[in-house]
Amino acid sequence: MADWYTNFANSGFGTTVTKQLGLPRPAVLRRYEPGRPLLPGPVVIGSAGSGRLRETLTRVVTDAGGTVLPAVEPDGEKPAAVLLDATGVTGPGQLVAAHDFLAPAIKRLRASGRVLVLADPPADADSPATAAARQALDGLVRSIGKELLNGSTANLVFVPEGAESSLASPVRFFLSGRSAYVDGQVVTLSAADVPTGEDADRPLAGRVAVVTGAARGIGAAIARVMARDGAHVVAVDIPAAGQSLAEVANEVGGTALQLDITAADAPARLVEHLRERHGGVDVVVHNAGITRDKLLVNMDAARWNSVMAVNLQAQLDITEALLAAEGVLRDGARVVCVSSQSGIAGNRGQTNYAASKAGIIGMVRAWAPAFAARRATINAVAPGFIVTEMTANMPFGTREVGSRINSLQQGGLPVDVAETIAWLAQPGSAGVNGQTVRVCGQSMLGA
């Protein structure tokens, strides 16, 4: 499933060639497969500061079938993941403890290993020194991400006081193969009523999930992953894409709904469809998106308007209609909006697209409290360079550069975006709200 270069670089001959020429040596990433253990090896957990999460973390790992190493020995068993509980750091002086724990552990880290740091949110700090220490962890984690080799990733989770019960789902995600292409990310949790007891292999069992733009590309991958995780998928795309939409729906045992999401009556039709056919909806993935690239000075209103209509306005209108329709958006609903790296970093020729995708980030942040009040969540996912039919048509040079300028030295796959979305859609992800998670292999753009 990796791209040709990654396959080549990992072949016998390719290894020799790429080593001698000093070319990037992208790793074959560890990706999630149902039924396989969470991690291919044990977890080591350390602390900096007073640390209030150690017990919770140990329980999360063991509940997920993982084992915890008491310590890393220079020639002992290699850890597959390194967890640092940095809650309780009160000043920069305590950060050296982070260094002391992480350095030997990362040295022994297995391929496709995981470094996950947990800390209190800087914004909640009661002194500048505490805020500084907490914020310092952000720079630490991002730098570790850039230093790690062999498909390993580093991410940071801020855990406010009282949000400890939200921890299990994010920790499982970041340790598992579901987060293969999520690197250098920061997620801030919130306190929530987190349901427990979901089936780890079918966390979306019994849920109805709408996926827009599902006829191909990332949307089709989202439909597949959602169905694999147990959801009934309502696959939405424009009528003209109906043939492949039907193929996707039939493949995943879902249903096809041909609908242009920008039509004036689209929100009403979708709401009615969900009410009539499913009695409501649990998960909505706003994935449909288009590009109409031109430099701003050359861009006509049609290009601007069509991109805004599909990428941003339709997400707003449909979400609003779902919120307004009595009983349609079910208790514990999850809305996930697909943004883009361009919405974070900007991109030449994509003023319209980047504006629409940045707008999504603002939208989910603003809506989060209202969703929380309904025991629901709304989040965004911002893909980086994802290998699709679309990118396959790019000129070779653009494509190769685009796919290598990230810490994992490769493009992501549609399934990587889909896994992150499916994670956010899980009932257990109740404490992840208003966040934008990049799926970009720690891209250098906009980081």
Binding site: P239, Q243, N250, A256, L257
Partner: protein, 430 residues
Amino acid sequence: MATTRKAAIVGGNRIPFARSNSAYAQASNQDMLTATLDGLVARFGLQGQQVGEVVAGAVLKHARDFNLTRESVLGSALDPRTPAYDVQQACGTGLEAAVLVANKIALGQIDSGIAGGVDTTSDAPLAVGEDLRRILISLNSAKTVQDRLKAIARIRPGMIAPEIPRNAEPRTGLAMGEHAQLTAHEWQIGREEQDELTVRSHQNMAAAYERGFFDDLVTPFLGLSRDQNLRPDTSLEKLATLKPVFGKALPEGAEATMTAGNSTPLTDGASAVLLASDEWAAEHSLPVLAHLVDAQTAAVDYVHGGEGLLMAPVYAVPTMLARNGLTLQDFDFYEIHEAFASTVLATMKAWEDPAYCKEKLGLDAPLGSIDRAKLNVHGSSLAAGHPFAATGGRIVASLAKTLHEAGPGKRGLISICAAGGQGVVAILES
């Protein structure tokens, strides 16, 4: 099996209709019917499910397609244990299939079923001439090399030309259009009213596409997402420029009025309709768009009886109305299949004609006229095209949706003429 129940129409699916030898030139009947079933399965989430029966057919059919519908089911996402059979009643095939499924549902023999139809004029079966066919059969049964050589030696170059199926009535040798032109002449159907009906069909269908009416009735196929024959910008002026294409059989001096514009072109396509009991629909959380209330067939003696080839529905409708205690005006929508614009006009004129209604239909009073604003409101075959066996399914699904949109208690009439002097008509009610 005590009482009967009315079969519900849950929804439908068709592929856009293509002009002959165009977008679907490489597609077989089985390809098109399978894709249509798969689109229906996707729309209603029927993957791996068994429906009571799938009934469909094709008018132009290869010998190898003897089990066309069952083979299509096996190639589809439906449970392979779903039984299926083929029917054929010329252009009435699709509606007749729906009636057959509805009747079994009504009797409680099945709880759900799919009715459909498909036709290709691009991948039509070719037959060899009778002489060659006999030689080939004896070649096949020859036991010795000598016998085989003898058989081969009997083949003459002139025998090689294949027989292409023609759109002609076997008993009169006249194309269907020639028959329709005779009827148009008899009923004095003018060129302009035919062209007007044609323009309205295109405009109605184009408007329906524009407002998304077909979003849940059509699934694109092989790059086509709308009917290829549809001309949203057609006009009376444009149609007026077309030359008549039928009229060989007209009496001296009679005006030929039927053109390629106001007649349906040869078309490829397929359609399917999902029918069920109300309970089955409710169990599957599927809507009931309408019920199939009643149906009727009729046939006319167009060979010796002096009746027009396509006039059978004119006879079928009053029988069905009487049985249901209805008048022709008791409907909110009318779907009269536009084989030719003149057919629709002659049908309506016959129902308005006191003498004809008395003498031919045996009625005390004429059936009367119908409100044109209720006729083929989302376009019909002149705009969509007419892949023979697929037309019935197109009409049933579109009318059921039209009735559903209009609200409960609305009634629609379907009238479809067919080759061989036959007609199939039905009543749907929301």
